[in-house]
Amino acid sequence: MNLEFSPEEQAFRDEVRAFIAESYPKHLADFGMREDMEREDFLAWHKILGKKGWSVPAWPVEYGGTGWTPTQRYIWSEENARASTVMPLPFGVSMVGPVIYTFGSEEQKAKHLPGIRSGEVWWCQGYSEPGAGSDLASLKTTAVRDGDHYIINGQKTWTTLAQHADWGFFLCRTDPTAKQQEGISFILIDMKTPGVEVKPIKLLDGGYEVNETWLTDVRVPVENLVGEENKGWTYAKFLLAHERSGIAGVARSKRGVEKLREIAANETAYGEPLIKDFDFAKKVSQLEIDLAALEITELRTLAGEQAGKGPGPESSILKIKGTEIQQRLTELTLEAVGTYGAPFHGGVSNDNSNEHPVGPDYSQYAAATYFNMRKTSIYGGSNEIQRNIITKMILGL
């Protein structure tokens, strides 16, 4: 047992760091908020990585994975966090991709995996509905067979960045008579199909990150069904476990703590740098300690995965702790900027203004990020749902 990096791993880190320094688009360094980003900004790094063969490291090698060890993947995420890169979005790479290569047909693999790898095709997730949040299996969107098509009707919500999406993966009810979980199917929908309508939802931070997606008599060819009809719940759960294991965001949070320390060294409180204020410094240390615990927990989980175990219910721990830490980080960052947390930079008074916003640069996004990150304990299965999963799968109650 040891925490040291081997010479080969050090060399890998050097290689990765050099590649990022050389290839990462300069104009996308240290992006503040994704609300300010254009479609191509999201995809730029993904496309570069696709060409390099590094866009889907965790996939099996036969589908384009890199075959990296968990330690190499850890180094990869650390180096990306260090450079604050805009990483490929999870919807294709970590969500639908693994479902397709695990349960999909050969035709589906051939059709969809290349676009996910290359970053040419943007995917979105159609899971939640207005009436089906934590109780996802109560979803009401229906897919009715009509010859070699499904006719889909219903309303999905919280569809992240669907305004840019080319394709979506949707959970639809195909057997209304079966028990809730047993009548659901996993269907791929081309977002340009007639009857698909995406309406933005304005969020607390002023941005439009999520949408309502309306499906009205949408005709989808049956070959877009993944796996078996009515087995969609199994695939949905498989996907969520994959989603959760990447959700801890350890490397990003470590970078966030460094930035927080920089801010607190720059801010003044009672005539001294804020970081010298023991009450504040204590909270930063506590956060760092909890983050260290999470980091080792994630590495232990990755090591278990390498030993042949897929992401299991332990990933729920990573989701709970990881999102709690992300939220505390943004909370402390907002606390650190003090009164300059209040100005709103997206309002009408700022429209068409060429003036530099008030307050230090690092204060610009503090409140918006704090508001935005409240989502993390709600999405991907709320942290309460994660506790239900651990109760059932680990405690056996």
Partner: protein, 376 residues
Amino acid sequence: MDFNFTEEQDMVRDGLSRLVREQYDWETRRKAIASAAGWRPEIWAQLAELGILGMPFSEADGGFGGGAVDAMVIMEEFGKGLVVEPFVPTVVCAGGFLKHAGTAAQKEEHIGGIVSGERVFAFAFAEPRGRYDYADLETTAKKDGSGYVLNGHKAVVIGAPWASHLIVTARTGGERRDRSGVSVFVVAKDTAGITTRDYETVDGRRASEVYFENVSVPAEALIGAEGEGLALIELVTDEAIAALCAEACGAMKVAHAMTVEYSRQRKQFGVPIGKFQVLQHRMVDMYTAYETSVSLTYLATLRLGSDEVERKKAVSAAKVGVGQSARLIGQEAVQIHGGNGVTDEYAIGHYFKRLTIFDSEFGNVDHHLKRHVALA
């Protein structure tokens, strides 16, 4: 980076697990800690036979060449059974001082006896007014010819009633809280001028107040350089903290498992109380606290050989995180056991007590959070 245990470590775990299960059952333990002796020398002899007491010493010193990870494995099993025998004072603390700074003669004199189980140590460092500052010493060691004369009062010396020898910290120079001027001595407990007042601790162990009145010790009693003992003490106590964190993990694991099992058996409102979500989520939080504690214990253990700042940060992180988890798990375990949790009869309360006292050993959560802030 590697999180696997070696085959030898798996064997040590299995062997100790069997010993605890077969010979350290709850009733036997209860009788032993209530007996006049308060411990079981025959268990100690078996630990020697199994090679546990010689684990961390190099083969050249007569040990088995183990390391911090071996100590972690051992302590986790001790924690599961609430083993009271003084492995940390004798093997981790006294053993640590001898290993890191002992002269050839001191190693020759003491290590063989530790490995064979014949020599038991206690570590006399705390003082009534020193709290968690190892340099805040009123005990003095004054030069007298080639030797020293010790005077002072050491507080809550764990395992001292069972010990034949003591490791003692004392001031040989400087002012009360100076970093320099702290020295470490090894003395036989029956040396003239040493008196003790022995008592039980709330978590089932034994301890003493140890008084030194003009205790003459030879120059050979000094471990390490005179006046420069503080860095050594910090190293050895960091090793002790990592070991205690592993013990706490073992105790937390059992306390959590007992609580989940109890919630399956105990019925109220016609159903097992484990069906109530309000309790389920609390038991999940206990489980998460246990898992993150294991992670921090790994971190501390694997950083014991790192540079001083890295080591201290990792050890303090663990003492803070494991301390907080120990409090949470101990209190919640009692709460979910209801009235039975506060009885002497149920084992859970005794796990709670051990987890409670763990926090104050070698610095509590606040102390180590402060140390972490100072090092950040």
